[in-house]
């Protein structure tokens, strides 16, 4: 995830691809709903690296998100936990 952790030769479009994949999600939403709906979508997160939405969302500490901001705050908090 370049945007929040720039290392070496970062791939710049990871969050862009992820946000595109999130297009069908309306809020409030739960982690389970997001995974059920788009969990198998593959996101290009590096020059030669892919993750599924489920892989990216499953570790989030929170289960429910009242709005888009709540979800992405949880996502970014989790990125920095790595």
């Amino acid at each position: 995830m370049y945007f929040y952790k720039i290392e070496g030769n970062p791939y710049l479009a990871d969050i862009h691809h992820f946000h595109k994949a999130m297009a069908p999600i309306g809020y409030p939403a739960t982690k389970a709903e997001i995974i059920a709906k788009i969990g198998d979508k593959k996101i290009k997160v590096g020059h030669d690296e892919y993750k599924t939405v489920e892989e990216m969302v499953a570790p989030l500490a929170l289960e429910e998100y009242s709005c888009g901001c709540a979800f992405y705050c949880a996502l970014i908090a989790n990125i920095y936990k790595d």
């Binding site: 946000h19 069908p24 309306g26 809020y27 901001c69 709540a70 970014i76 920095y80």
Partner: protein, 305 residues
């Protein structure tokens, strides 16, 4: 319209257009009942003008003090009754034109208190469906009773959820936030504001819109009475604080804009950045130490007095 957000706003947004007419003019500083009747006649004439100029409009907004003006020595002798015949005239006009209206009669409370500076919203059936007593009177020059709550009309026209504030209210940032927290997607500020506060009114309106992600509709008196120059400059603002339209300085004028209240509701749900209604009570929410929830305790001494 969605300036201030890095991330695309996803999702299909369904919203009706709310056609708002803002009419700025100057009432007489009434020192007799017939002068109040003249002022009411002016309000009704402005509503008729709006119907001619903007066929099909939904909401008419008139300035603070449009019924009574503000006569320095005698204003308190000419207070109105919400159930009385003078207020009934604007209720009847809303019914005739099939529109919503926002008005400001200064009321003699039935419980014997001195005066309530009262904003009302009238529906197209001619019923008062919203009442707000100014929470921040323009002290010391306005010795009215301070109101105790800022409710929001949640079932307004075309998806509008209207918070109504009055003049000096808007100089206090907390009332904008209060209206937004209570659900407003549009905050209407009616005023009888005079020079030299022209720049201040514009600044506070823009800040109120941006900081709380609401449309702001500002309707100010325009003209000169025995005391002051009322600068007008009524305006309508986007939720990013940018101006949609502004009336000129000091002259009677009518502005109109079509607003989309459903967009505000969608922004509050879908926006990633620039979502102050979430982040103000989830401070630092992306910090991993707080599990992506942030800190939600009220930290501000300013609000614990």
């Amino acid at each position: 319209m969605n300036i201030g957000n890095f991330y695309t706003l996803h999702g299909k947004i369904e919203t009706e257009a709310l056609s708002v007419v803002v009419s700025q003019f100057c009432p007489k500083s009434a020192a007799a009942w017939d002068e109040i009747d003249d002022n009411i006649g002016q309000i009704l004439a402005r509503m008729d003008q709006a119907s001619a100029g903007f066929p099909g409009f939904d909401l008419f907004v008139s300035p603070e003090c449009a019924f009574q003006g503000y006569h320095a020595g005698k204003w308190s002798q000419f207070l109105l009754d919400l159930d009385g015949p003078r207020v009934q005239r604007v209720k009847d006009k809303c019914k005739e034109l099939n529109v919503w209206g926002i008005f400001n009669p200064w009321i003699k409370p039935k419980d014997g208190r001195f005066c309530d500076n009262t904003g009302i919203i009238v529906n197209p059936e001619g019923e008062i469906v919203h009442k707000y007593v100014k929470m921040n009177p323009w002290t010391p020059g306005e010795p009215t009773q301070a109101g105790s709550a800022c409710p929001v009309l949640m079932d307004g026209p075309k998806g509008a959820k209207i918070g109504l504030i009055i003049c000096a209210d808007g100089d206090y940032p907390e009332i904008w936030r209060e209206a937004a927290v209570n659900g407003a997607n549009i905050i209407v500020r009616i005023s009888h504001y005079m020079a030299p506060f022209d720049r201040a009114m514009s600044i506070t309106n823009k800040a109120g819109a941006y900081c709380n992600q609401v449309y702001v509709v500002s309707c100010n008196t325009a003209g000169i009475d025995e005391y002051y120059n009322y600068f007008g400059e009524s305006a309508i603002y986007n939720p990013d604080g940018t101006e949609i339209v502004q009336a000129p300085t000091g002259i009677p004028y009518v502005i109109k804009a079509d607003l989309y209240p459903g967009i505000i509701d969608a922004m509050r749900k879908q926006a990633v950045h620039a979502n102050p209604m979430y982040t103000y009570k989830n401070r630092g929410a992306s910090n991993p130490d707080d599990n992506g929830f942030g800190i939600s305790e009220m930290p501000y001494n300013a609000y614990k007095y």
